[in-house]
């Protein structure tokens, strides 16, 4: 590698790190603790953690079968299906929010069905979880599909020739083999759900303790109390750093 590569590489690294440093330098450290532990901040943080955990669980329940189908089968139009599944990854979140509104909203595609079932999704915490799951599901699917392909099918073939039924192979061979990849995917989904803003504000609304997650609280605090917005932003940065550490840890265990 030529030495001059260090130059643009360092500039790139600086480009990412500098804004974070600039933000950290604006934190009012004297009030930091009281700012991030105010009632509204705590409510937003707890809501964010709760909904993100729910969304991650949903991602695992829905995403593992999706990744298995994409990695272990071939069918016509698979490329198209994979592209569609990845769509929320590249879609502007606010577009996702509008799409969800016209699906699960009161006047949406499924609105009447949901109404008949006696469920209320609009302006509820459920709406937040739906928005977060929508945007973070692709992270789990992509991550796990990659791991499944790298792991290969050797052990699965051996297990089934030894007489293990498919469900046993899945439970005893495949899943343990890809567990680190699954964990990494789940952590990434959690992080994406935690940062979700656009789809939530478009689809779920904003009410303290019900739908106002941490990113929404930060955006609102900016209006009246910029110090609190900066302090809460730093909290999210710290969480993000922890998440990256966890993913690296999980990946490190993974067989090459």
């Amino acid at each position: 590698m030529p030495r001059w590569i260090y130059l643009p590489a360092a500039a790139g690294a600086l480009f990412i790190v500098l804004p974070l440093v600039a933000m950290a330098s604006r934190v009012e450290w004297g009030q930091f603790w009281s700012l991030i532990t105010s009632d509204s901040s705590r409510a937003a943080l707890m809501l964010s953690l709760r909904t993100s955990a729910m969304a991650t669980l949903l991602c695992v329940v829905l995403g593992v079968p999706m990744a298995l189908v994409l990695a272990r089968t071939t069918f016509r139009g698979q490329g198209l299906v994979r592209s569609l599944v990845l769509l929320p990854l590249v879609l502007p979140p606010v577009v996702g929010g509008i799409a969800l509104l016209y699906t699960f909203g009161r006047k949406g595609l499924l609105g009447e069905t949901i109404d008949v079932l006696g469920l209320q999704i609009a302006f509820s915490t459920t709406a937040v979880v739906i928005a977060q799951t929508f945007v973070s599901l692709p992270f789990l699917v992509v991550s796990l599909e990659g791991t499944l392909r790298t792991a290969g099918q050797r052990y699965e073939v051996v297990a089934s020739t030894l007489g293990a039924p498919p469900t046993t192979v899945l439970r005893r061979v495949t899943l343990p083999l890809v567990l680190p990849g699954l964990a990494a995917g789940a952590v990434l989904s959690f992080a994406r759900a935690l940062g979700e803003f656009g789809a939530t504000i478009t689809f779920a609304g904003s009410l303290e303790g019900v739908t106002r997650t941490l990113p929404l609280e930060i955006y609102l605090q900016r209006e009246s109390n910029p110090d609190a917005a900066v302090a809460l932003s730093l909290v999210l940065v710290v969480v993000a750093v922890l998440v990256i550490g966890l993913v690296r840890g999980a990946r490190g265990v993974e067989a090459p």
Partner: protein
């Protein structure tokens, strides 16, 4: 080696940032140098709620003043003040409330005294078929009616809290939104049964919402001030635009959009 590369990278990055920055000031400089009577551009920072009428007023002003171009930056008033305080190239500032204009005058950014040019009051907006049959402010206190308000941190939320207090009504909203646009969006899409927005928003939304007037709205009147900015390169043009807004033609356009006189 690493350290040299590091400092070079820092220099490179700063150079990039400076290059991006200077293109802006070049733009501002070119408008300044071309400030002959034939070619003048003024930039008006105006509250988002003024977008419709101000675009029209701008065209009329251009028609009456040959060689003058008016460009706009429409955003929330608090965002606009922050941008002006950070040195954004603006010639005129029109705020949706006196509070944000006061911030600008306190910093000595406004030339002279700002003039109040319009007022706005709240109105209830419902979907066109008014599914919850909302007829008064008191109806919004019904827990079965899904009401959306602005958060108290933003001006429309403060106004909503004001009318609630004046009427002695306690509304439990299902959502406290970031802006009037967000409230209107929830009503237009039918997610909410009612929302509190400005009279002018209901008017601009046309058939997509129904406006319900309530007497307590008069208790909280939002006043819009306008002023030329002290740092303007074309202070006389900026001042004449502000005068045009407060003048007969400007007032006619604002009245058509639903604004009242101060």
């Amino acid at each position: 080696m690493k350290r040299i590369a590091g400092s070079c990278a820092a220099a490179l990055l700063l150079a990039l940032v400076a290059a991006c920055g200077s293109s802006d000031s070049d733009g501002a400089a070119s408008t300044a140098t071309s400030a002959t009577p034939e070619q003048t551009t003024i930039t008006v920072f105006a509250a988002a709620s003024l977008k419709g009428p101000f675009t029209e007023i701008g065209k009329k002003f251009e028609a009456e003043n040959k060689g003058v171009t008016v460009t706009f930056n429409f955003a929330g008033s608090s965002d606009l003040v922050a941008q002006i305080q950070q040195g954004a190239p603006a010639d005129v500032f029109a705020s949706a409330d006196t509070k944000n204009m006061d911030k600008a005058t306190a910093d000595g950014l406004v030339e002279g005294t700002p003039a109040n040019f319009a007022t706005n009051t709240l109105q209830i907006a419902t979907p066109p078929d008014n599914p919850a049959r909302v007829e008064s402010l008191a109806d919004l206190a019904d827990p079965d009616v899904k009401v959306v308000l602005c958060a108290s941190e933003v001006p429309c939320g403060a106004a909503a809290a004001g009318v609630e207090q004046a009427a002695g009504v306690d509304i439990q909203p299902v959502s406290e939104e970031q802006s009037v646009t967000d409230v209107l969006g929830k009503v237009v899409s039918g997610e909410a049964d009612a929302g509190l927005v400005y009279v002018t928003d209901v008017k601009a939304a046309g058939d997509t919402v129904l406006g319900v007037t309530f007497p307590e709205a008069d208790e909280v009147v939002n006043t819009y001030p306008i002023g030329a900015l002290a740092d303007s390169e074309n202070l006389d043009v900026a001042q004449s635009f502000a005068d045009f807004v407060t003048g007969a033609e400007g007032q006619a356009v604002l009245a058509a959009a639903g604004f009242a006189k101060p």
